[in-house]
Amino acid sequence: MRYKTRISIDILFKGVFKTTGFLVLALLGGIFAMLVYNSISFFLDIKPLDFITGMEWAPTAKTPKYGMLPLIISTTFVTFGAMIIAIPLGIGTAAFISEYAGSRLKNILKPAIEMLAAIPSVVIGFLGIVVLSPGIANIADLPNGLNALNGAILLAIMALPTIITVAEDAIHAVPNAYKEASYGVGATKWQTLRKVIIPAAAPGIIAAVMLGVGRAIGETMTVLMATGNAALIPTGMFDSVKTMTATIAIEMGEVPYQTTHYYALYAIATVLFFMTLFANLVGEFFINRFRKYHAV
């Protein structure tokens, strides 16, 4: 090919890739701008502080109340519950696959876990209604089992494949030299795993957990189906909850266009956006703290 043609192709593709790169930025900026723009319309009516700290969410009452505290607490309950279940299970499974399982078991487990990720969220929601809900109702002697615990268990199942896969990669990537060094001073397998391998893999494990948190906070369909959707401040895991995502999904379809209620849903989305942003920043912070101990 002639030199000039080659150069112009080079320039062309540089432009193309630059465009796609900026397109992603533009999308992110656009979504954020849309959220903020619509939220501002809401905050012209309702003070931000009243919105965040309001104890009651009743946008369709005679005198509408836009307090999103019950929703924030609901989301927090479900997410925390899910993580309490999913983090030990996920890291344990990842450690087992990477350090203990034989190659044959590994070859079964890994694809099985990836299949778990392929189950649509609506199917997991079914599971919550049909299996978990009666189970929880039975054990805890409740009229039904559609509550925060149900949602937490389902979200844990959904977050597990992400946590396991990413954490397993991180554990697997720990240099053999660290393990040899640890065995060399007389450490057992468990001591090596707990004190050397997991700390060395910590950045990856935290990233895995953060991805899991992101998944749990943002998940909509499953929690909508399984948590009962009562917009009240929950007092325990056996209370029905209405998460922020479920609120938006349920109410967006019925709300009159460009009313305060309509804008309120955007405001919820903005808060949700900042919550996930915060989760990511915390993750980044810890990743950097552990990274400084690794070879440059």
């Binding site: 240099p175 030299a177 660290y178 393990k179 040899e180 060094a181 640890s182 065995y183 060399g184 001073v185 007389g186 450490a187 057992t188 001591q191 004190k195 050397v196 700390p199 060395a200 400084k292 101990y293 690794h294 070879a295 440059v296």
Partner: protein, 248 residues
């Protein structure tokens, strides 16, 4: 001199491949023995068999006797952690843990339920000629040290457990000449307290530090003797060829 560490009729194979063939060799107490030979001759395999590093490879088959004084190292009844406490190891590439300098030493002590305080850590670092360079930065990540310092830290980590034998697998191969000299100095100084077996590719290094030298070729011990004998009056033709650089 009293024999500290020995192998008798040792055969090791990985899967189908036999790596060590009928090795019988003895290492005397408070001496430095160098294992030399071309790549793939089984030096490292032999070295690693003494502290049971082959336990980690499921396809390794070990036959023969390995002993540390009267202790049968190959016995299923002897806990491998106990063996590794008594036989320390320094690896080819310095492998400090991604922890602070202090914690790198403290780790082995804690694992083995040995007393762990600043004095013990300081003593280990002093013995490894590293204390003066790091005494003000004990909390610094060990990975920020230079290559030579990292390797001395690894030696300090091994020394901290007060082992009887220290195995060294080409400890200087990744280091510059100055760091290498420092480590050789250190090794010579350590032999007063420990029995040292060192694998090396560097003929000059073997001559500088080793009391005895063992020449291995294709999984067999071809010749062993004092370093002077091996390098100046080799009996085996292969040894002579190898040390003069005809192959390897």
């Amino acid at each position: 001199m009293k024999t500290k560490l020995s192998a008798e009729n040792l055969n090791i194979s990985f899967g189908e491949k036999q790596v060590l063939k009928n090795i019988s060799v003895a290492f005397a107490e408070h001496e430095i023995t160098a294992l030399i030979g071309p790549s793939g001759c089984g030096k490292s395999t032999l070295l690693r068999s003494f502290n049971r590093m082959h336990d980690l490879s499921p396809d390794a088959k070990i036959n023969g006797t390995l002993s540390l004084e009267d202790l049968d190292l190959n016995s299923k009844h002897v806990p491998v952690t106990e063996i590794r406490k008594r036989i320390g190891m320094v690896f080819q590439k310095a492998n400090p843990f991604p922890k602070s300098i202090y914690d790198n030493i403290a780790y082995g002590l804690k694992i083995n339920n040995l007393p762990c305080n600043k004095e013990v850590v300081q003593k280990a670092l002093e013995e490894a000629y590293l204390w003066d360079e790091v005494k003000n930065d004990l909390k610094m990540p060990a990975t920020r040290l230079s290559g030579g310092q990292q390797q001395r830290l690894c030696i300090a980590r091994a020394v901290a457990l007060r082992p009887e034998v220290i195995l060294m697998d080409e400890p200087c191969s990744a280091l510059d000449p100055v760091s290498t000299l420092k480590i050789e100095d250190l090794i010579k100084h350590l032999k007063k307290k420990y029995t040292i077996v060192i694998v090396t590719h560097n003929m000059q290094q073997a001559q500088r530090i080793a009391d005895k030298t063992v020449f291995m070729y294709l999984g067999e011990v071809k010749e062993e003797g004092t370093t002077d004998e091996i390098f100046n009056h080799p009996k085996n033709e292969m040894t002579a060829n190898y040390i003069s650089g005809y192959f390897g």
